[in-house]
Symmetry: none
Subunit: 203 residues, 4 copies
């Protein structure tokens, strides 16, 4: 790596076009700048102008590739997110607890939390963001629903348990805590919430 300036205005002497196609350096610089701005100034300071300034990019370059603030935010989120993975401990409660705990930790200790909050906020006034968020949420619920499916399969959960409902309750709990600044719940409280859900579906 030549330039180690990860969150500075990057290239000292700007990028040029590389011909009639998208310049990946620009895209990278813009996403990096977007993340940095979001981290430093929060959603309130997150403007296309600020990102362009930071990335030493022209505003039209941003608008060309990301039609809305929401699209940029989503890309930043996707790029940033190191997937929390899916635990498989053989116990539904333990699986859900570890998932929730690692999500809370990720959101609290990395930019991911700020970014995701911003996306949800944006979705309240931007239809495209709302749609993307809905799709993303559904996907996450499908994903975490598998844990309940496995619990049913191994006889831990009752056969008529609804994996979607469990996933919905869990992700609602996590999202709401993110949005209201309550990511520092201690293990006992978190576990009590998870246990309440799990008990509701045990065989």
């Amino acid at each position: 790596m030549k330039t180690p300036d990860t969150d500075q205005p990057s290239d000292p002497e700007g990028r040029r076009s590389i011909g009639a196609r998208r310049n990946p350096d620009s895209a990278e610089a813009i996403l990096e700048a977007a993340e940095a701005v979001l981290l430093e100034s929060g959603y309130a300071g997150f403007s296309i102008e600020a990102v362009a300034r930071r990335a030493r990019a022209g505003k039209p370059t941003i608008y060309r590739w990301w039609p809305s603030k929401a699209a940029l935010l989503l890309d930043v989120y996707r790029r940033q997110k190191r997937d929390v993975g899916q635990p498989d401990t053989g116990s539904l409660e333990e699986d859900l607890f570890q998932l929730a705990r690692s999500l809370f930790t990720l959101w609290r200790d990395t930019p991911a939390g700020t970014i995701f909050r911003s996306i949800i906020a944006e979705a309240q006034s931007d239809a495209k963001a709302a749609e993307a968020l809905a799709e993303y949420g559904a996907e996450r619920r499908r994903h975490s629903g598998r844990m309940t499916e496995r619990a049913i399969a191994r006889g831990e959960a009752r056969p008529d348990a609804n994996p979607k409902v469990v996933a919905d309750l869990l992700s609602s709990y996590a999202w709401t805590h993110l949005l209201t600044g309550r990511l520092d719940e201690d293990d006992d409280t978190l576990r009590a919430a998870i246990r309440t859900i799990v008990r509701g579906v045990l065989a």
Copy 2:
């Protein structure tokens, strides 16, 4: 109905000062205009300027009494909200279900939903809104926590059930559905979610 001008710029020939004290007509006109703007243009179009124009009020009059957009939003919400009340059917599941159902209905069929979404969005970039929202949320959870307390008292719920956790799960579920445009869940799905929570705390 006495005054048919519910969503027009109200008074044909404006309000005056009524001395060195707040003019309730102005306050009323501003709140009404704020609600109308929010309803017609959504959170995206909700600006102090737009409210002032609509209310035929000066911007300083708004800033004098509401230090931030968030404060105005909260007042609009409070003014608009007809409290959903607290059912007491003798069954925890039924209590929670009716509460959730009436909340979903309120949010879907009145401006309250749009307004509350806006407050949550605003809280993602405005510290004062965040604080106000946190306080409001805590109060709501205390309120709905009483239903579980009653269930414990009558032996329906286990003695070590945590009313706060139940309330948190329920309100998280409701808020998240509001924010992601899923207020039209059918009764079965809604009841399945409620039942999962309730089963987790039954004796």
Copy 3:
């Protein structure tokens, strides 16, 4: 002197009405405050609000007695001005020089200069100020014209010399130097200007 608080918000615990007539204390406090504001913040900071704040007076009290900013300014000027008097040395050049010199000194070293500048500025957009200024200027020219009249009478100046023209040239020179911040002309330059005028009317 009873109260030494010449430029503070005056009375610690406010003035009241003294019945159905003008309260001279208020008038005094307002003029004093106006002068203080003008001195401290210049014409740019001279607003009715600022004067009212400073004088602990209500705005209507000011508007009741001074219909415009210009009227207040003129009163402040009249109240402040210690008349420069009219020298009579037996020499026209010396008379004019001493008059100009004392005027320059007064304007440079006391609030009078700032105040008078403000009046002239105000007169450029306020007809009433313009009228008052015109009248005042004419009176001043009549006044200083007497020096030339005396010089004609004693045979120093030619009989057909026009006192009004001399006075006009002199006051124009002074006013313009006030308005362009050139009140620090040294004695030689000032005397050269006066001498040029005087030579033009000597016998």
Copy 4:
């Protein structure tokens, strides 16, 4: 004349950016609008907002190129002013008289007078305007000083006559008459004033 819309909001369907450089059309429209506003509403009604409205320009576009009201006023003055030229009749009195007369006429019969009055007024509360005005005044005095220099050179004026003083007296006389609404002096009065100055420097 192709476009008859000399003082209307100009272009029916607006101007666009012409790239990363100043758009001369906008500059022109703004100066034209500024002049029109000044002419119609006077200095009192001259606001950046009014100019922007009239020119169908955004406020930032004005602030981008003119840092203050004063700067805009000066540009309007420069643009408007058809230089009064410098007469050279071989007689100092005649030179000065014609200069003064044409200046009075220009100020009385064109917008230039209103504009220049506004600049002087603005300079009484805006330091930058004051500086610009000082520089402009010095330049004008240098310029009109040349007439006296020529008179000295041809032996008409005494060798020790001070051209700066003559120019100062003349321009002071003119400026003051502008500011006090006395531009309609008849030829006799004007000539008497000029003659008084000139006699003071004749050989």
